[in-house]
């Protein structure tokens, strides 16, 4: 049964600097599914993602990749199964193409030269992340959004079965927000990848996710379809802000509007 799961967390707990940041989280992601991790700042989204990706060793519980405990896999073996695109920019002296080529190291090995199929995978990854035209530009010369896409391309070049995206739409303009979220859906639904994505924009979560996990204070508050989790009561409880939840005019997904304590009268008709 658990072999069918791409990713699983069982009673997973993490501490950072002695503080409990993730507390006994249980969740599972199937191949072909997009799971959005949402929650207020400091909820433990990034820490959970890093533990799932074998970057951070949990203080309790286990996380499994394709049915195997991740810490029983070596770092390279894990990086062939799971790829994490961390949040923020990157400080690297490399060009875009050189960074993306590093994504082949887990499968090709760290010492061997890349082969033709590696080069093809690098090309595909750059095309998909929309950085093919930037290939020879140094990362230092890119904007924040371009760097984010280069990092995404590096993760795609690993050709993982599970893709972990930490705030992939931060710093992106509207066009690339759509492109990246659409790519996440296609990778899951067409290619059968399991995609876990942390998002601050709840409407993006409603549009992209098959299921949503709501974290607050390190605990999993709710896990279910967007319609089940993105309710006014649940969100008010997690974020401490009243919200109105309507229906998306085109997609019929939840449409979330935060309610301001002091807001001028409505001006649209």
């Amino acid at each position: 049964m658990s072999m069918a799961l791409a990713l699983e967390a069982r009673e997973l707990s993490c501490t950072l600097g002695g503080r409990q940041v993730v507390e006994t989280v249980n969740l599972a992601v199937r191949p072909g599914e997009v799971l959005a991790l949402i929650g207020p700042n400091g909820a433990g989204k990034t820490t959970l993602l890093r533990a799932l990706g074998r970057i951070l060793r949990p203080s309790g519980g286990v996380s499994l990749l394709a049915g195997r405990p991740v810490w029983q896999l070596g770092p390279r073996a894990a990086a062939r199964i799971v790829a994490l695109a961390p949040q923020g920019g990157i400080q690297s002296p490399l060009t875009v193409a050189q960074l993306v080529a590093l994504g082949r190291a887990p499968s090709r090995g760290w010492l061997l030269p890349l082969a033709a199929d590696d080069r093809a995978a690098v090309e595909r990854a750059m095309e998909r992340a929309g950085v093919a035209e930037l290939r020879d530009r140094p990362l230092a010369a890119l904007s924040g959004g371009e760097q984010r896409r280069a990092i995404l391309a590096r993760a795609l070049a690993q050709e993982p079965r599970t893709l972990l995206l930490d705030e992939p739409t931060a710093a992106l303009d509207l066009r690339f927000q759509v492109a990246v979220l659409d790519l996440a859906r296609r990778l899951a639904h067409n290619d059968g990848m399991a995609v876990v994505v942390t998002l601050h924009d709840l409407n993006q979560a409603a549009l992209v996710a098959d299921r949503v996990a709501l974290l607050a204070g390190g605990r999993l508050l709710a896990l279910g379809t967007p319609a089940e989790v993105l309710t006014a009561g649940m969100l008010a409880r997690a974020y401490g802000v009243p919200v109105a939840v309507g229906c998306h005019p085109v997609y019929g997904t939840p449409l979330i509007t935060p309610l301001f304590p002091t807001h001028p009268e409505a001006t649209c008709d």
């Binding site: 073996a77 695109a85 400080q91 050189q98 190291a105 993760a155």
Partner: protein
């Protein structure tokens, strides 16, 4: 922008290798007896030809070639090690001596000179320097590991602290052994005076091994230079990768120090000259830096031998005199980016 054509690997590799060959021929002609380049070339390429003067062959093959090759190889080793340390510390001001290699070598050599003068069993100075260098690096590495993090910062701090301690010990030894001051100084300032094929045989192999190992580790270096987060995400075993790179770079550094003493600036500058030509990817940066380092030290050694001949200057002074202003010029025009 006008130099874009130089950035094709085949072009810069050919230009650098060609320059190195020219510098070698010129260098072999410089000295007490100066030889024109064509005489050097003929003695070098066709020593058995009866038309070539026997004296030329002896000067080139027996007196100068081993020294020139050792200088070039040491320059290559220092430059490759410099590029490696700049990569793992993500700091283009790092040099081959950043984690205590020079302090350890200095103490080792000084101890050998001092104890030798007291009639203790003689330890060859290069051996003592090599051992001192490796021991210092191992102490720094062990301290950094024990500090809990496999962070580059711990290595840098431990290196700085140990270097200060070691240089104080060297000063102390010099203070109480005034009779050996000149010999110690000559060694600390670096130079290839009197180096022969035997020296090349002992130092050349570990130098080549070190440079080769650094080049082999080019991709882990790329990952580490792109930050710990990137390297971790790619499943690079950070501790082992850093350990292997430090070991390879230290082998190259210690071998270069054993061959020619403590020679500054080559390892710092060569990667800075290489980057605008070949980019920052270590698969190209390492060989380009090595070629440039070889060229720099070969030229510096020729200058050291000829500037106020027949007196020979310590090559470390020449590299600092040329390298210092050059580096300042490079910085002022933003060449460090």
């Amino acid at each position: 922008m006008s130099r874009v054509w130089l950035q094709a690997p085949l072009v810069w590799a050919t230009v650098l290798a060609g320059s190195l060959a020219v510098a070698l021929v010129v260098s072999l002609g410089v000295g007490g007896v100066s030889l024109a380049p064509e005489r050097v070339a003929r003695a070098l390429l066709t020593p058995a030809d009866p038309a070539v003067r026997h004296a030329d062959v002896i000067i080139v093959w027996d007196l100068r070639l081993a020294r020139a090759l050792l200088a070039a190889l040491s320059g290559a080793g220092l430059a490759a090690a410099g590029a490696a340390f700049q990569g793992i510390f993500r700091n283009t001001l790092a040099d081959p001596f950043v984690i205590g290699a020079s302090g350890g070598a200095a103490l080792g050599a000084t101890l050998a000179i001092v104890t030798g003068a007291k009639g203790w069993p003689a330890i060859p100075i290069p051996v003592a320097a090599f051992a001192g260098s490796l021991v210092a690096v191992m102490i720094v590495y062990a301290v950094a590991q024990a500090s809990g993090g496999d962070t580059a910062t711990a290595l840098l701090l431990a290196g700085a602290a140990l270097s200060t301690l070691l240089s104080a010990l060297v000063s102390l030894l010099m203070l109480f052994n005034g009779g050996q001051l000149v010999e110690i100084f000559a060694w600390l300032l670096g130079g290839f005076s009197g180096r022969s094929w035997a020296h090349l045989a002992t130092s050349g192999t570990p130098l080549l091994l070190g440079i080769g190992a650094i080049w082999l580790l080019a991709r882990p270096l790329d990952a580490l230079a792109s930050g710990e987060e990137t390297a971790r995400s790619l499943g690079l075993p950070l501790g082992r990768a850093r350990g292997a790179i430090v070991a390879a770079a230290s082998l190259a550094t210690a071998s270069a120090v054993a061959a020619g003493g403590i020679i500054g600036f080559v390892g710092l500058i060569a990667p800075h000259i290489a980057r605008p030509l070949c980019g920052a990817s270590h698969a190209r940066l390492i060989p380009a830096s090595a070629l440039i380092g070889a060229l720099l030290l070969l030229v510096a050694d020729s200058v050291a031998r000829s500037l106020i001949a027949p007196i020979e200057l310590p090559v470390g002074i020449v590299t600092a005199l040329i390298g210092g202003p050059f580096f300042l010029w490079l910085l002022s025009r933003g060449g460090h980016h």
